[in-house]
Symmetry: C5
Subunit: 252 residues, 5 copies
């Protein structure tokens, strides 16, 4: 996506609206579906792995036309590998169906990547829950904070993704075949399931933060009880020792 000239030529060749070209280049887009009549413009976020513990996401733009698909990626990633593989080996329905089915396959891959992120998060949350019960340390708090942030980021791209796919499913564009509609419905169901899980994780993390805070104040209580018991025993004793010593020195 470095070669602006080539990019503009493509835009002209396929008759893309200047706003579409702008949106493709601006990699900070909110996922959405725009129907321009001759083609449908889709922009999505693809989460692919991590780097230094942070989630990596790329912007993927898809233009679905009558007989073609254009797709633009922020960075090179393995997103299309499985699709190319299926096409070259002529597996599945991907070469029998139209451009809309191909678009579906790409979006399906992107949505599947969310599941991978979620599984990874689930593992971390379970690990955290064990930690919480056995030995809560300040680092537990950091982990809760980091996981919460990741969920906030995921949510930010999931809700518009849901809208974008719903727009495709309910679309009456001639570019989308009736029989493909059910596949978009299937993706839509997956996204709803992902959103449910993200919300569930958020609830669980909030619960865990409450538990962490309660554990902290329980621990403070314990510490203070020890201090109070020691003070209650030794302050009077020290006083008595002082008085006794004082009295004892009288006869001297």
């Amino acid at each position: 996506m470095q070669d602006i000239k080539l990019f503009e030529d493509i835009g002209e060749l396929f008759g893309l609206h200047p706003l579409v070209l702008e949106d493709i280049l601006n990699t900070d887009q909110r996922p959405k579906t725009d129907d321009y009549g001759d083609y449908i413009y889709l922009v999505l976020k693809n989460f692919h792995g991590r780097e230094n513990g942070n989630l990596l996401s790329d912007q993927v733009s898809i233009i679905l036309g009558k007989d073609f698909i254009l797709s633009f990626q922020e960075r090179e990633s393995g997103l299309f590998d499985s699709i190319k593989d299926k096409m070259s080996k002529n597996k599945g329905r991907i070469r029998k169906e139209g451009a809309d089915y191909l678009a579906h396959a790409i979006i399906d891959n992107i949505v599947d990547n969310y599941f991978i992120v979620l599984e990874n998060l689930e593992e971390k949350i379970e690990y955290l829950e064990d930690d919480l019960v056995k030995k809560a340390t300040p680092s537990t708090l950091d982990t809760i904070h980091i996981l919460k942030r990741e969920l906030i980021l995921l949510r930010k791209s999931l809700w518009p993704l849901r809208e974008a796919v719903s727009a495709l499913e309910r679309s009456d564009s001639s570019l989308i075949n009736k029989s493909t509609g059910i596949y978009f419905k299937d993706i839509y169901d997956h996204i709803i399931a992902i959103i449910d899980t993200v919300e569930t994780f958020r609830d669980m993390l909030s619960g865990m933060l409450d538990i962490y805070l309660s554990t902290t104040s329980n621990r403070l209580n314990e510490v203070m009880k020890v201090l109070t018991i020691i003070a209650t025993i030794f302050m009077p004793l020290t006083f008595i020792a002082g008085v006794y010593g004082m009295k004892m020195s009288y006869p001297i």
Copy 2:
């Protein structure tokens, strides 16, 4: 559900869509109703008892056709026992009505299982409330945490269940008889009542967590007051004893 070959044969025999077969096998589905014209595909979560204190749930798939019902379960459970019993003894309306009434009977059983889970939870919450007033311990906190998690899990399957049954009730499919509609409405009312109860339990648990936290800080206050009273009495006394002893030794 182990025998994939048999499963695929059934799919072919009844003309099921590949997406349906995929959904039946993938036991992580969100409850939903999909109308495929010739048949309606339903997927639900059945909660049946506990194991090691954790709620057990199974995925149940129902395919409602013109004159048949297919159902697939993740694991063997007693879900159909009462229905088989009624059918063999020719009790109730179950053999007089069509396939849609049979589907209703299965869903009704699944929803009744939620009531059993709720009664169990209610008992625990009442027990917890007694505990909270009499003797709140850190294990009270654990119980609140565990109950909260179970409610989160129940909610996650209840809201889509509500949608799925609502879709059946409002369906204009020829597969569902007008006179059966009222039975789906009845199940729908039960689900709403269950959701209300779950939300009420959540509110109650939140309130109990607040009380627990307040009790903890009240207790800290008590401990600190004891410490302060002892320090206020014995620190000056010890000092006086020290000074007196010091003075008393002058004449020596």
Copy 3:
């Protein structure tokens, strides 16, 4: 409601649907309105007084037919006294209007009982607020907790009550006269006002819990300051006394 035989006979006589009979007997219903064509089935919760400090509620079922009203109560209560009184004394419009107006009169009485509960709660909340400012004790916390629970219970029956009455108001059933519609609208307005008040009470109790918690930590601060001041004064003094006493004994 003990005599099941009589009850079933009534059901048959008036041609009631088996689901209605089931709902009447199951006293755990969510308030709702079901239109069965020939009659409308209504189920409500009536709050009448307290026992051992707990709110008492009864399930009231009303069947509104062409020229008749059937009503079933969980327990004997004075709910119909004022209506019987008006009817026997031929006061008001109650004997001039149809069965729908009578149904309205019963529902109106039930809704009025909510106002009585609210007034009682308002008194307690005001009393609590005075307490909070003057002398907050752990029992203040208990009271907040109990009031919160009662509001949760009220809410649980108010929202479906609102729906049930709204369904009556917007009903196009021939059983409800146009001129009676405005009376149901009036009840609906009352329910909305009750819900508003309940929500306001919830907000106020939440605010009071925050204040209670802040007061608790303020008090802890005060206690700790006293402790610190005493320690700051007497620890150095005791040390000096110790050293001085030590030195003073040199010449001996």
Copy 4:
């Protein structure tokens, strides 16, 4: 509004529905608009000043007929002064337009009074914010609590007011002129702006409570650090002094 006889005569003269008369006398109404065909009944809350620091509110009922306006107030207040003034001086459009414009003028005055209340609250919140940074005392907490309560009260009357005015604006009653509609739209916009501000104030107060609580625990931390430092210095020293004194007395 004391003279019930006169009141009932008015009701009969203008053909008012018994429910309207009841609502006018019951000064605990939720703001609303009821269209009775021949006339529109409006009930609102007018906030006019304070007494002993509490907001004063009155119920104002307006009946908008073909060529007349009836209005009933709970208490005498200056609400109509500016309108009477404009009418007597023949200023503005108030004498050229119909009864609906007059109704608009009254509602406009009532809504303007909310702005006055908000300005007063804004001042207090700004004053509070200064306090929070410079010197937070327990009285800061009381002020937050009182302001929160006032916002809860305002909200309780604002949301239904919004509905009531929206009903007027969207009304297709012949009593409301097309050209007056835009004035009701204007009032509606003002109410939305007031609600926005109230919500903003609520958010700000919540934020301030959080800050207050954090400041309190920061302060506790400071106090405890002083205590710990003193104890860390003087406890060992006192012990050493004790031991030294003990040893020093050996040679004696």
Copy 5:
């Protein structure tokens, strides 16, 4: 906007409604779009930079007529510079399109200013997050508080801005060209993205406040542990020293 006479003349010349003139002068308006048939009245908030750390905002009123645009600003700002520049240099489409496109260009500039504010906030939040992990001080708390307030202010103008632009986009007014509609849709998408980001920032700040509070109580725990350890060691030792010294003085 000081010259009232000129202002009223303009109003008369362009046939503006008195309510529009009032709204332009009252610089406390909520963003909105009002369609008056012959012209559309728009009022927006323009955020341009900071003064003493506070966000500066101006009210901008736009009147979009058949062949003209009127715009009124609360204060002089560089809002129109880029547009004037484009027009004078005949760059872009701005001189080829109609008044609606010009209106779009102004709104686009205003929305772009929100992005600048957000970038500035993002920087501060990232800086804050670093601080939180490394060294949380009471000033961290102040910063969280200030950022929260700014987000509250932004939100207050963003939601109505969204409505206002959505009204333009969906408008069937003849003043807005079909081909311009897509540009308003583009602005609308930007506003939604801004709102998403603001909500995300709010969630992040809430999370950071929780972490701050937990860190504070962790720190208190640490301090109390030190105190308790010291007391546990030296209180018994001091007592023993006292007793020993007391005993040692016997033989003397």
